[in-house]
Subunit: 161 residues, 2 copies
DNA sequence: TATTGTTATACTCTATAACTATA
DNA sequence: TATAGTTATAGAGTATAACAATA
């Protein structure tokens, strides 16, 4: 349990992260906004999955996920095959083009970060990664790359009907 | 200079911060979205200023700042008095109502963070604050609470005419 | 002419709610 | 009836560009 002043500063720091995110977003190609990147990355990390699972990992509503997925599917970066176990669903899978796009994106991110963070040590970056991962955990987000124990009360990311 | 894998993870962590920001945004009253909070906080920390300076601190375009400022001014949280030195500008200043609103917001943030981060130590929060501050610095953002040395090449936050 | 600020327009990301198809 | 997914609509945040007033 930390002090009031620390929390005030943290809320400031978090709201200021917008500038950092915009800095990273600027390096993306116009056809591939941040939402698309997130879809591609999660499909690579976790393998093929249904849209509901993806929404959970993204920690956004399924309706949002549906639009991001439509965007990347239109560009051929993923395909959607019927789920044999449940015909309401389709299985999302990265295509070869998607994998290629992802490699290109990763290259851009790494280049940009290497430029911005040239004076950061290995340990600094590790520490920041670890703290951010823990922060997301504390906020109840269970997205990669910090997958954890499944919770007994699995919350849905769904608009309540 | 860190390794490729660390940069890839960091870009992931940063994009995942959206969930944390949404978690914090949900505690705000409907009349006072995050953009308004940022304006109020900066006016409290830095004192009265013009809109151009505020845009710089917010690290967003002046057009965006103008809208946020209009929002908080309409609600009486700031006032705008003509700048005697330059009649194109007005000086933005927190009102008593604004200060009150800010106290209420601060309370909400602290409560929320204390809840989310109950198992974080003092030192953990300090460390995260320090790393986030440094991260913003590395991305060239000069917003509070990590004000630093002024740069000789003061970049504008302005749409290029 | 250049600068400060405002406004119009457009785009991304998000949530809520209504809807379709299947379970 | 309930669930998986889609679509329509709305709102916040942002940027670009055109504009007004002043320097």
């Amino acid at each position: 349990m930390a002090a009031r002043r620390q929390y005030e500063e943290l809320s400031q720091q978090l709201s200021a992260m917008g500038a950092v995110k915009r800095g990273l977003a600027r390096i993306l190609p116009p056809e591939c906004p941040a939402g698309s990147v997130a879809v591609l990355v999660l499909l690579e990390r976790h393998g093929p999955m249904r849209i509901g699972r993806l929404a959970e990992l993204l920690a956004v509503d399924m309706s949002v996920t549906s639009r991001h997925v439509a965007h990347v599917a239109e560009r051929g970066w993923i395909d959607r095959t019927p789920d044999p176990d449940d015909r309401r669903s389709r299985i999302l899978r990265l295509t070869a083009e998607g994998t290629e796009q992802l490699a290109e994106l990763s290259e851009r991110y790494v280049q940009a970060l290497a430029g911005y963070l040239e004076d950061w040590s290995d340990a600094d970056v590790d520490q920041l990664n670890a703290l951010l991962s823990r922060l997301r955990d504390s906020f109840g987000d269970r997205r990669a790359p910090s997958a954890r124990l499944p919770h007994p009360t699995e919350q849905t990311t769904r608009t309540p009907a």
